[in-house]
């Protein structure tokens, strides 16, 4: 689940639903905003979900809290090996948020597939398209 800013909203429901139905398996959220202190949406819920094991993994990117701005796509690249491994293991990838972010995330995914999947650019595009066709990579950008 990649949902910076208000894009995180649907993922609350995802996590709640998985908890309600007692879903097994792992989940991973990457969230971003400008400031940790004021814009970490639903912070207390994510902290609680992590603690309760309802969310396995949470990575964060706060763009204005450090000298160099950090965005979700950088977190993706940093964790590229794991991202690729999760995809290979059949993970469903959801992206929600601003259009420009969606584009950057897509480009980052492409780089990850090239680097960690040992594919060339064309094959990486095909890999992502296939994920989309099979419903394993869904985007809701606005």
């Amino acid at each position: 689940m990649i949902g910076p800013g208000t894009g995180v909203a649907p993922f609350r429901g995802f996590v709640q639903e998985r908890t309600a139905i007692g879903a097994s398996g792992r989940n991973w959220l990457i969230f971003g905003a400008r400031h940790q202190r004021s814009q970490f949406l639903y912070q207390l819920e994510w902290q609680a979900a992590l603690k309760a094991g309802q969310l396995q993994r949470l990575d964060l990117a706060f763009s204005r809290d450090s000298a160099e701005p950090v965005y979700v796509q950088q977190r993706l690249i940093e964790q590229g090996r794991d991202v690729y491994a999760w995809l290979e293991a059949g993970a469903h990838l959801y992206v929600c948020g601003a259009t420009a972010m969606g584009r950057s995330v897509h480009a980052a995914l492409r780089d990850i597939v090239i680097e960690h999947g040992g594919r060339d650019a064309e094959a990486a595009d095909e890999y992502l398209s296939e994920l989309q066709r099979s419903g394993c990579y869904a985007r809701d950008v606005y």
């Binding site: 202190r37 912070q43 819920e45």
Partner: protein
């Protein structure tokens, strides 16, 4: 004592020299705070985690955790800072903190409102100014205080040097601080053991102060370990040794009490480090480590008995202590405005209410002191009364300082009621986690109202020591004030009366848990009586004791059942 150790003791022992998991806590972006255990260890590094209590409810509704931020406190023996250091701290406060610089009641700087990810850069930058924050909080020796006014004699500089040396001697030796904040490479096995503290440091905080007569600005009787400099013919010969002072009390726990330090005897100046270390290690070995409410040195002494404590100390020092020498204190305050020193240099003491260096529309302390720091060639001295001295000014540079003071609305900062000039307030709400009532934010208001009453009886110029604390922990040393308010609940205070003007007598509880209206009604009656019945030159605190409004406060005898 075979009681269960307090959790903090276990934590210290397992902290690998105060490292804990601080590094991991700092890197964890999921929270703006630290892990619970690391919040304790952070204190030893000179910082406290706090949160804005005004925002708690609102943030909870927004599903945000409390607005965590950090306070950083410097270690600054005697409160001496160079203009370059002043400017650097000022810049750091502007960049990373909120609300300017704060001067503490222990002569240190505090910067508040630092966010977690800025903590490391801020501490690193402070260290670049050659000031550190090691042991500014925590169960260790805290910032060593020294009478701030450098005018009296050459001996002042010597006392300052003694305090500095003692402060260095009592620093923790762990390299944790340098590794965590200054990126020093960890060398396996190179960590020095703690020769003075041992693996669990002290049972509780430990406070040291040096007083230089005739001004007891450091409130030497409130310190765990106090030294009164004995100066003969302008030469420092030694110190009277005082042990076992302390302010902190817990509401509703009769086992806790404020206590004045006892004078144990006279020591030569060459004995200073030995004696101080002996007192500290005696407390280290005998202090209560199971109940933190009872672990300050004052309780250790009352439990062991003063004689036993003294004999143990003399055994460590290797000789018995001769009786204390005679001395005299005039007051606990500061001398405002220009004062000429023994060497013809000048010192300007500027009043800073509650130690808050900030700009308002009319009084621009932050920019004024910044402007002064840019041209000043002497140094700054933070006073135990939260004021600042622009110290060591050449006679021919006074005019320049005067102009800058005037330009920033600071030249008139001395006008107004005398009670304003002595008042102390702790930080309290919204920052301090222990606060039960307002202190610093409420001070200007309550002072106005008290001044209105005083003026009614012609007491506008009467110096009265007034202090307010947001809780009984007593950071503003309220139990040594002629009038004190100690917070009990929002808007409610215990009214304490009857300490003396020299800081030698504790006050007593007069009215419990009263609101402002009741406080002012009480004071109105008292001020009226004081104005009509006082003896010539009699101070308010002495008056209320003499006429029996409060019983003469005494030393409190230990009634510990340990």
């Amino acid at each position: 004592m075979n009681e269960v150790l307090s959790p903090v003791e276990t934590l210290k022992r397992g902290s690998r020299g105060l490292r804990g998991t601080l590094r991991e806590s700092l890197g964890d972006a999921i929270t703006g705070g630290l892990r619970e255990s690391d919040t304790q260890l952070l204190k030893f590094h000179g910082s406290y985690q706090q949160d804005d209590r005004d925002l708690r409810d609102e943030r909870r509704r927004q599903k945000l955790e409390p607005a965590y931020s950090f306070m950083i406190r410097t270690r600054l023996p005697g409160g001496v800072a160079t203009p370059a250091q002043w400017l650097a701290l000022d810049a750091l406060a502007a960049r990373y903190g909120n609300g300017g610089l704060r001067l503490t009641t222990r002569q240190a700087f505090q910067i508040h409102g630092i966010l977690k990810h800025d903590l490391k850069p801020t501490i690193a930058a402070i260290n670049q100014t050659l000031i550190d924050t090691i042991a500014a909080c925590g169960d260790v020796n805290r910032n060593v205080m020294v009478s701030a006014n450098p005018v009296e004699s050459r001996a002042h500089a010597e006392v300052q040097a003694c305090a500095q040396a003692l402060s260095e001697h009592l620093l923790p030796q762990s390299r944790a601080y340098h590794e965590i904040w200054l990126d020093e490479q960890a060398v396996i096995g190179a960590d020095a053991s703690e020769p003075v503290y041992g693996p669990t440091y002290l049972p509780r905080k430990f406070k040291i102060g040096f007083a230089i007569t005739p001004i007891n600005d450091v409130d030497v009787f409130s310190q765990d370990l106090g030294f009164i400099a004995i100066i003969e013919q302008g030469e420092l010969v030694g110190f009277n040794l005082l042990v076992g002072g302390g302010m902190g009390v817990t509401h509703g726990d009769a086992r806790t009490y404020p206590r004045l330090a006892d004078e144990l005897g006279f020591i030569r100046k060459d004995q200073l480090i030995t004696v101080a270390t002996a007192v500290l290690t005696t407390q280290r070995d005998h202090g209560n480590r199971s109940d933190r409410k009872l672990s300050r040195l004052k309780y250790t002494i009352d439990r062991l008995g003063l004689d036993v404590f003294k004999r143990a100390l003399e055994a460590l020092v290797g000789e018995s202590l001769p009786p204390p020498r005679a001395y005299r204190f005039d007051h606990t305050g500061d001398r405002f405005g220009w004062v000429e020193g023994f060497d013809g240099r000048w010192h300007y003491t500027l009043r800073i209410e509650s130690g808050r260096v900030r700009d308002t529309d009319t009084v621009r302390l932050l920019s004024g002191l910044r402007a002064i720091a840019r041209v000043h060639r002497g140094d700054f001295r933070l006073t135990p009364n939260q004021n600042v001295i622009v110290a060591n000014v050449d006679a021919n540079e006074r005019a320049l300082i005067d102009v800058l003071l005037d330009d920033h609305g600071l030249a008139h900062a001395l006008h107004g009621a005398a009670i304003r000039r002595f008042a102390l307030a702790c930080v309290a709400l919204p920052t301090c986690g222990l606060a039960m009532a307002e202190a610093e934010r409420y001070l200007p208001t309550i002072l106005d109202r008290m001044d209105a009453l005083l003026s009614r009886y012609g007491l506008h110029d009467e110096p009265i020591v007034f202090r307010i604390s947001g809780c009984p922990n007593g950071c503003s040393r309220p139990y040594l004030a002629e009038i004190a308010l100690v917070g009990k609940a929002p808007g409610r205070y215990n009214l304490m009366l009857g300490a003396d003007f020299q800081g030698r007598r504790l006050n007593r509880l007069h009215r419990e848990n009263i609101d402002e209206a009741a406080i002012l009604t009480e004071l109105d009656v008292l001020f009226a009586r004081f104005a009509s019945d006082r003896e010539a030159g009699e101070h308010f605190g002495d008056f209320v004791v003499r006429v029996g409004i409060v019983r003469a406060p005494q030393f409190i005898v230990a009634k510990l059942s340990v």
